[in-house]
């Protein structure tokens, strides 16, 4: 078993190399992609600033605290994009019939599809979120002990798996309907915008859904409560520790759903 994993990982790295070389063929698009994303997020940050300028604070969150909350979500989303963003286009592979190839090679189809792209365009997210977190850290005059850094790391890993899980969950629907990208924009985008603000501004029903069904609360809100020494709603501080546990469980469930969908794969005609 470990040998098979080692082999899969080696193959993954090899294919990642090829994917990066393929993306480098379009240099201009590559650079514009990074700049574009970084500017999109900076724009959202400016919106927050304008908002806070008139209100002073939202639910007791100051500007730099909000920036931290936002940047944490963008950071794990960036990692998630690198590995899973191309899953939103799975339906195109299915419609064109190009998905067939993943089933006639001696490699796990999920791994194979995942290895098809290693999205280097996500550097825009890293650029924005690293600078934003660093600035927030400075302005809030934080001095984290080691355990807080671990919580931070755990939130990034957990957040990556939660968002990645939702991406592959949505993509799997294409196995039945052959269309899923619209659903991605309809679900993922609002869900991600929701996470830019403290959860307590939303009705309890929404809070409940993003905690227990699609556990987005564990991506940034709950870890941020812990890291910024805040309290909010009915959440105990220790919930923030749970991101690296919730992430893998949610991801595993989504992966099971994906594999289930694969058995319903119908392939395109002729």
């Amino acid at each position: 078993m470990p040998q098979i994993w080692l082999r899969n990982i080696r193959m993954y790295l090899y294919m990642v190399g090829a994917s990066i070389r393929a993306q480098m063929q379009y240099r201009y698009a590559f650079v514009m992609n990074i700049l574009g994303w970084a500017m999109t997020y900076a724009g959202t940050a400016i919106t927050m600033w304008v908002l806070l300028y008139s209100f002073g604070a939202i639910e007791g969150w100051t500007f730099w605290e909000l920036i931290f909350l936002f940047a944490l979500a963008v950071l794990s989303w960036g990692v998630c994009m690198v590995f899973f963003f191309h899953f939103r286009g799975l339906d195109q592979y299915i419609v064109n019939g190009t998905f067939d190839r993943f089933l006639v090679r001696p490699m796990h189809p999920f791994f194979h599809f995942m290895a098809m792209k290693f999205d280097v365009g996500a550097f825009g997210q890293f650029l924005f979120s690293t600078i934003a977190v660093a600035l927030a850290y400075h302005h809030l005059q934080m001095h984290w002990p080691l355990w807080k850094w671990l919580v931070f790391g755990g939130a990034v890993v957990g957040g990556t798996l939660i968002q990645g899980g939702l991406l592959i969950l949505i993509s799997a629907i294409a196995f039945w309907t052959t269309r899923s990208e619209r659903l991605y924009w309809a679900v993922m985008w609002p869900a991600k915008s929701l996470m830019n603000y403290p959860l307590t501004i939303y009705p309890p029903g929404v809070q409940w859904v993003v905690t227990f069904i699609l556990p987005f609360a564990f991506v940034n809100y709950l870890p941020s409560l812990l890291l910024l020494d805040k309290t909010g709603g009915g959440y105990a501080p220790y919930w923030g520790f749970l991101s690296p546990v919730v992430g893998p469980i949610f991801f595993w469930l989504c992966l099971r759903f994906w594999m289930h969908g694969l058995n319903h794969y119908k392939s395109a005609g002729s």
């Binding site: 090829a18 001696p106 189809p109 058995n263 119908k266």
Partner: protein
């Protein structure tokens, strides 16, 4: 022992019924009606190692569906498939090691990378030992002339070049069975011929068993001794190509151009199978009537401007089988 065994194979697709208008679209979100379509029904055959089998039929007959079940891409609704002792959809990865697959319509190569990179990637994926990889690459490069476009990104290759690269890619890991789904589609005459020569060669020299679907009857004629003819998901004929030709061989085709417009043309001993203005296509059985007899008969009643006699083409034979069923003819 047979290499491929297919028993009572069925595949049913459920196609969502489209509902009209906006209201229909909303309703179909919650409740869908499905139409089931039997793409393959009760197909059985066996193929021995070393055979080259033509798997043919009109569009929508179930050819691709069968191939996709044999390669493990699709799960059969019912029935059994054994490929060298392996059930393809249950052990996809194991099956993948013993088969090569080429889909003429879509490439399996990495679109944005030079062809050579795809070969290197496949070498990794299939864990092909360096020595064997080198040897295969050299052989294929020589026969297929891959050298000239090895460094070109796949998206910039011509269709002929891409097909050559695709078939080489499918054979790198020395599969014992090769599935070719329309390998000559869209190719020009020279490229087609090259492809056929290559397929023949790997069958004869490497003993690779080949199953190919095609709409080009010359592919079948030049490559296959046996053909399996399917229509509406069922086997219409399974046997030697020569047998069908022999049966049809009794027939000849007489094409005549008449002087002046003639409607309601008919002639005893021959069947008019096509008419285009003054040109008529007549089929006759040469055991019942000789060509000269027939021409004499016609010239007694009509003015013949020009004529030609030909063997029925294989396309024509196949069309007859689809229309009338094999029993009527063989």
């Amino acid at each position: 022992m047979s290499l491929i065994e297919v028993k009572h194979l069925y595949k049913q697709y459920d196609v969502a019924k489209r509902q009209e208008g906006m209201w229909g679209a909303v309703r179909s979100l919650f409740h869908r009606e499905y139409l089931s379509k039997m793409a393959v029904q009760d197909i059985s055959f066996t193929i021995k190692a070393g055979e080259v089998v033509g798997y043919i039929g009109p569009n929508g007959a179930g050819k691709s569906t069968t191939i996709k079940m044999l390669t493990g891409i699709l799960v059969p609704t019912s029935g059994d498939i054994l490929i060298n002792g392996i059930v393809p959809y249950k052990e996809r990865q194991k099956n993948a090691r013993q088969i090569g697959v080429v889909f003429g319509q879509r490439t399996q190569l990495w679109w944005d990378l030079p062809a050579i990179e795809s070969f290197e990637l496949l070498k990794q994926v299939f864990q092909i030992p360096q020595q064997r990889y080198r040897k295969n690459m050299d052989t294929f490069a020589e026969i297929l002339g891959l050298g000239e476009f090895m460094q070109t990104p796949v998206r910039q290759l011509s269709l002929g070049q891409r097909m050559r690269a695709d078939i080489a890619a499918s054979l790198l890991h020395d599969p014992s069975i090769l599935f070719l789904d329309e390998p000559t589609i869209g190719l020009d005459v020279v490229a087609k011929e090259r492809m056929r020569t290559f397929i023949k060669e790997i069958n004869q020299e490497r003993g690779v068993t080949v199953i190919l679907t095609t709409h080009d009857m010359s592919d079948i004629e030049k490559l296959c001794r046996r053909m399996i003819l399917i229509d509406k998901g069922q086997v219409m004929y399974d046997g030697e190509l020569a047998k069908i030709k022999e049966k049809f061989g009794q027939h000849r085709l007489l094409i005549i151009d008449l002087e002046g417009e003639e409607s309601g043309f008919s002639m005893a001993g021959a069947e008019v199978i096509r008419e285009e203005g003054n040109r008529k296509w007549l089929r006759f059985n040469r055991r019942q009537i000789s060509a000269s007899q027939l021409i004499n008969q016609i010239s007694e009643r009509y003015e013949i401007k020009d004529l030609a006699i030909s063997d029925p083409e294989i396309d024509e034979m196949i069309r007859q089988i689809y229309e009338k069923g094999i029993d009527q003819i063989v």
